[in-house]
């Protein structure tokens, strides 16, 4: 496979909903240790809305619109920190895709890169702050390298998820500098970040939908 079709991305969104539902309690438990115990509910609420609207979203004329509509759905249904961040991610991920209805690895890399840039602009977090950025930024990095090395889409996604997993795990030892966990200072050490975990789940769902 060399391209991802719009229908596959719709499948991706459905799969995100499933994986979020499955992991809702884990996400909330992680957020309860160093946050306010709502990340699982937040993500579920957002992606339940996406799946409620999936027919409408499916009628988006191209991938850019699909992503943008998904982002707006998340923004208007999640709230909290993750609402604007994931909402911005999808909106900005769509913004660079013109009117494509299927995308190459390079398109995918550009799309995710722009999505992550949006998240960083909104949230002003960097790698090491113990947030979803610790998953998203290395994932973009990995995709870039895969494009440079001309890897297959499958291989690229697989590498990306490995890197994302490491990023997620790396948050355990960090002191949080952004989000609610930052209020805990040193006490945030030893706990995996909830948003990093949901980002990993979202990327993993992409790999599993495509490969």
């Amino acid at each position: 496979m060399v391209t991802i079709k719009q229908t596959q991305l719709i499948e991706w969104l459905k799969n995100i909903t499933l994986v979020i539902r499955e992991n809702k309690d884990i996400l909330t438990a992680l957020d309860s240790e160093i946050g306010d115990a709502d990340h699982g509910f937040n993500m579920e609420r957002g992606f339940n809305k996406v799946s409620e609207k999936i027919d409408e979203l499916s009628r988006s004329q191209d991938i850019a619109m699909l992503m943008k509509n998904t982002g707006m759905t998340l923004i208007s249904s999640i709230g909290g920190a993750s609402g604007p961040l994931y909402g911005t991610f999808f909106m900005q991920a769509g913004a660079v895709l013109g009117d494509k209805t299927e995308i190459t690895l390079t398109d995918l890399k550009n799309s995710i890169e722009n999505g992550v840039k949006g998240v960083k602009d909104r949230g002003r977090a960097s790698v090491g702050d113990k947030t979803m950025i610790d998953v998203l930024e290395p994932a973009v990095q990995s995709l870039s390298e895969s494009v440079g090395e001309n890897l297959s889409l499958e291989q690229a996604l697989s590498n990306m998820v490995d890197v994302a997993k490491n990023g997620m795990k790396s948050t355990i030892d960090m002191i949080a500098k952004k989000g609610r966990a930052s209020y805990l200072g040193e006490r945030s050490i030893g706990h995996q970040d909830a948003g990093a975990t949901s980002s990993y789940l979202i990327l993993k769902a992409l790999k599993e939908t495509i490969n």
């Binding site: 946050g35 306010d36 709502d38």
Partner: protein, 354 residues
């Protein structure tokens, strides 16, 4: 979990319906959720809107009414409301004088309210955001998301609400709100955790002989855990944290109407000193009986007097809460004559009357 609730997914809606049934002075909208004044306000009046996660009642919905907020947007429990909530709400109540959003400094609230302000300004409705970041338990803004917004919010809503009622324009209201924020400091502690309805169990475990010092209002653990001690010692810890807090500077974002974009402005909070006169709040976190708050007030007042700091006005009660958390917070806002005058102006809301 023992709570007077029905289905988890209806908790916020039903509380809003109960409020509207009890108070003819407010109305509610459910899709999206907001609470607003029943009576129309004077043409050209700046509208003061706040909002944030639910679970802090009576804040903010309880402060909608004459002399305080024009509207409030409740999110899910402990979750910032969404930009379209604020957008729809502002469109409903704005009255030609522009919109001032009073926003507690949490990542989620800040981002959602910024999006709403962007949408409104793009729509031709002048909108400014003011942050509240008064919690001295959070030490710096370089290594954290900055200080949290806690008790000063209540005092700001009262003072700025009175100013808007008195005819201050948007710029004046915004300047006043920034002044209040720059003069406010808070510190809180918890005897117990709270229980988020959807989670069904306490956010953190804490023993019968331990307490958390430096908590916020979202059931998160505090800065440190110490052995249970008496009210006077607890009050001394909280009061000292506030009175000993040094001058504090941080960049805060505001909307620049000339460039139509966000700019960072440095805001400095001077340290409190002898001779200051204060508006004080001794606040319960949700499940603390008011009698215990008076025990705290007694010592707190004594400590302030000992430092020649005068509490000119005070509130003692549960005004900004964390669901059913047991514990309290203390807030001091250094007041000038303008602020005192606005504090004394009439206010008639479900949660605060004078």
């Amino acid at each position: 979990m023992k709570k007077l609730i029905n289905k988890i997914e209806n908790v916020i809606t039903e509380q809003m319906e109960g409020m509207a049934a009890a108070h003819s002075s407010i109305k509610i909208n459910l899709e999206p959720k907001y609470i607003y004044r029943s009576e129309e306000t004077k043409k050209g009046k700046v509208v003061i809107i706040s909002g944030g996660g639910s679970g802090h009642e009576p804040m903010h919905g309880g402060f909608v009414g004459l002399g305080m907020l024009d509207a409030a947007c409740p999110g899910e429990v402990f979750t910032s409301p969404t930009p379209d909530q604020m957008f729809e709400c502002a469109k409903k109540v704005e009255n030609g004088g522009g919109v001032l959003f009073l926003v507690k400094n949490y990542t989620g609230d800040v981002m959602n309210f910024e999006m709403a302000a962007e949408m409104l300004n793009a729509d031709g409705i002048k909108t400014q955001n003011i942050l509240i970041d008064d919690d001295v338990a959070v030490k710096d803004s370089l290594y954290t998301a900055g200080r949290r917004g806690v008790g000063t919010t209540v005092i700001m809503e009262k003072i700025v609400g009175a100013a808007a009622e008195a005819g201050y324009d948007l710029e004046q209201c915004a300047a006043l709100a920034k002044k209040v924020n720059s003069r406010g400091r808070s510190m809180g502690m918890a005897l117990t955790s709270c229980i988020v309805p959807a989670a069904g169990k306490p956010n953190f475990d804490i023993d019968e002989d331990e307490i958390e010092i430096g908590v916020g209002i979202h059931g998160e653990p505090g800065r440190k855990r110490i052995p249970l001690t008496n009210a006077d010692e607890i009050t001394t810890i909280l009061t000292s944290a506030i009175l000993d807090d040094k001058a504090y500077s941080r960049p805060l974002r505001e909307w620049d109407f000339s460039t139509n974009s966000w700019v960072e402005k440095e805001l400095t909070s001077d340290a409190f000193k002898a001779g200051d006169q204060m508006i004080a709040l001794v606040n319960g976190l949700g499940s603390t009986p008011v009698s215990e708050l008076y025990t705290v007030y007694r010592k707190f007042n004594e400590l302030c007097e000992a430092k020649n700091i005068t509490i000119a006005r005070n509130l003692v009660g549960s005004y900004i809460t964390a669901l059913d958390m047991q514990g309290c917070s203390i807030t001091l806002v250094r007041a000038d004559d303008e602020m005192i005058k606005l504090w004394d102006a009439p206010v008639n809301t479900a949660g605060l009357k004078m």
